[in-house]
Symmetry: C2
Subunit: 452 residues, 2 copies
């Protein structure tokens, strides 16, 4: 009798101390493992059971780690990565007119975008991001960087109503974008979105075309919307209505829409978003850094809007770090609502995973660790000085951990990043083993006092 | 002729690509080195000159690194470190009454505080913090942990007007505190502060005693002040004045005072702080997380108040990470002032170094890299995927870097932490060397567009 004959062969078995599938909500599995085959999660079982059913080509035993769904960066412009830190601490118009635009005029081309996107992918992957939603010129180059890195990418087919080095008019942008979509239509990793830049750079006729394409091709629409009060005021002057009302009139408000930023919002704007079931991408660091303000996320969540998280580009953030965005979103919401219980850690993790997947209309395949979904998986080492003791691993992820604690990243079932020989530093006076021992001692004593 | 005979022997020469002394303001030295002897900075010279004058027992050649003054955490409670993550996302009173206070009732004693403080020191040191300003029960135990870790510490001699496991009344707190001060008075690293907990836990008579001791012994006063609106309202009910006005009447407002939090402030409160030249400790993460609000830092800086940064305890933050506080302070100030130029990176770095030193009345010996000052030095690796390209190292420190990029930490001339074999992760599709090369290429082209 050969026991192995009864077992299914799989590519990976990944074992960890904790597993947060995100769906079902707020579930935390202990001492579980994931089996991955052909890019798909085929089983999630207790460690001590999984080997009875599966035989793995590769096995990862990750003591002290938690497995979470690969994080999703719902708004970025990876092609801008070479501009990181070029012009910080300058006012918005000076930033654009004296730094960002002149650089774009001088350098933006296939190679600039490909190189920037590759740097961006390297930063995202090592922070546990497996999927990003991008918008920039020469989207083909960003798709190529994603493919080289092994990342899942939603490539925005950017459209504006003025000429750039990439395209000379709206029809040219659209034609180039749709050609790119066609070229990648058989890719497992690359998907397209229609990406009208913003209400102030795109005219009515172009928006109407985009709505038609979105319906015909079943694509999400990726749009900057109500980023600043100035944008709202200029729209009132030029169109007599606020940008979101103009979008409603043009048929853009829809569950296909990912409205990015949404900082300058009043109650009527929120009503419109709610009644049209618009998705929001919250970019708290970028909104603070460019002095745009703080989006009314608490009000959006109360209305059950679907809200994901984005970093924006490394020219305006300057960390492509969804961990910082999770933490900042949770912290700002607490101050905004004057309630320390607002936007709890679990909800921040959902925003960075399943909510972002839903915004991309991809929640049937990514955004959670469930059998049958694509294997986009992030492993995080919680046995770190910075996240000891550990009473609640999800709290640690959002409030204590940093991206440097990510150790393994799988995209579509392939290991695309790992941190080998994760070594702590050496202290002259402190013995890390002693720290571990004393933490274990106190953690056992204090655990009964933990919040549920 | 023996060239070495003309040279001064020193303990360390540390060479780096950049050096930010912080004093003089906004100076950035390139390709410089520091010579350290007997705990003191004896020279700061160009790399290619320093070896003509000094011969070092140990030499650190830190390519791609920047040297900055050791960071100062101006407000923490290291003894609480074992409570990290025990009760997040719960309202303030529930947090205190159901979790923090019961744990303190059950466990707070010498050993609990020593172990927590040691964990805290380990976290602080690896993030480049060389000095912390603490307030907690059993301060003796915190001092012991600092000594073991080799850290500089300002130990708060905590005082309250109600009994705890540490002391039974105000006189007992004071007597215990002053005995601790006496015990450590010859230490190079340990200093004392008088630490009345808060206006709502300390009575008038006790404050008067503390003011007398502060003058006689020339000690700073470390006090939570105006953390919440509730604190202000309760004071109005009980004393008929706001806490800060009561502190003025009691003689507490003074350049000796470090007022922590200062969130619930009106114009008159700010006037009082300004006219009495009070120091402020800003703890942005803690204030957001406990839903206290956002301190009016921009208004304080406009009044030329001296403002440092603190993490607060890992029970309320939960990162003992001054890097996050620098970034959060800068970002919040921009949104608060609706000006992207507000609280620039340089100012954030000053808050975490020389301003904090000034608050502790220690700016003649620490807080900057200057000849004659104590050698509290932090080395940061900027050659990291997360901080490429690098047009402005100070911008990178505040907006892009994380504490994981700290590689060497000297306190009082001793190497107390180093990260050996700092290895980047391994990507399946990305070659880190290629990333470095393409970044160098673009950085050279874009540099002329950099903001000054």
């Amino acid at each position: 009798m050969n026991a192995i004959a009864d077992k299914q062969f799989v590519d990976y078995i990944i074992e960890a101390d904790w597993l947060a599938p995100v769906v079902p909500q707020r579930q935390l599995l202990e001492q579980h493992a994931i089996a991955v085959q052909d890019g798909v999660i085929v089983a999630i079982q207790p460690k001590n059971e999984i080997h009875r059913h599966f035989h793995a080509a590769q096995q990862l035993e990750l003591d002290g780690h938690i497995l979470i769904p690969g994080l999703i960066n719902l708004h970025t412009h990876l092609g801008m990565s070479m501009m990181r830190g070029l012009a910080d601490d300058v006012a918005l118009m000076q930033w654009l007119q004296q730094h960002i635009w002149p650089v774009e005029q001088s350098f933006v081309a296939e190679r600039f975008v490909r190189d920037g996107a590759l740097l961006g992918c390297a930063e995202l992957l090592q922070s546990g991001v497996t999927c990003f939603n991008d918008m920039y010129f020469f989207p083909q180059a960003t798709a190529e960087a994603a493919i080289q890195s092994g990342m899942r990418a939603y490539i925005g087919l950017v459209v504006m109503d003025f000429p750039t080095k990439y395209a000379h008019d709206a029809d040219d942008y659209l034609a180039k974008g749709l050609a790119i979509r066609d070229e990648w239509r058989d890719s497992d990793l690359i998907r397209a979105t229609l990406a009208p830049h913003a209400p102030y750079t795109v005219g009515d006729k172009t928006f109407e075309q985009i709505v038609t394409y979105a319906e015909q091709l079943d694509l999400p629409i990726h749009l900057h919307l109500h980023e600043t009060q100035q944008e709202v005021e200029e729209s009132l002057t030029k169109f007599g209505v606020r940008p979101i009302e103009r979008m409603r009139q043009l048929g853009v408000l829809d569950p296909r829409l990912i409205a990015v930023h949404s900082v300058a919002m009043n109650e009527q704007d929120l009503d419109l978003m709610q009644s049209h079931r618009v998705n929001v991408c919250h970019c708290p660091s970028s909104n603070l850094k460019l002095a745009s303000g703080i989006a009314p996320i608490s009000a959006m969540l109360k209305r059950d809007l679907n809200v994901g998280l984005g970093t924006d580009s490394s020219a305006s953030n300057n960390r492509l770090d969804i961990w910082t965005e999770m933490r900042t979103a949770a912290l700002l919401a607490k101050a905004q609502q004057q309630d320390a219980a607002a936007l709890p850690a679990w909800q921040a993790l959902e925003m960075a995973t399943i909510h972002a997947a839903r915004a991309l209309n991809a929640d049937s395949s990514i955004g959670s660790l469930e059998v049958g979904k694509r294997a986009d998986i992030c492993a995080v080492n919680l046995q770190h000085i910075n996240s000891m003791p550990c009473y609640d691993p999800i709290s640690q992820l959002v409030y204590a951990c940093g991206r440097e604690q990510v150790t393994h990243v799988l995209v579509d079932g392939e290991l695309q990043y790992q941190k080998l020989s994760f070594q702590p530093g050496v202290y002259a006076g402190i013995e890390p083993t002693e720290i571990k021992e004393i933490v274990q001692l106190w953690q056992a004593k204090l655990k009964p006092f933990k919040a549920m």
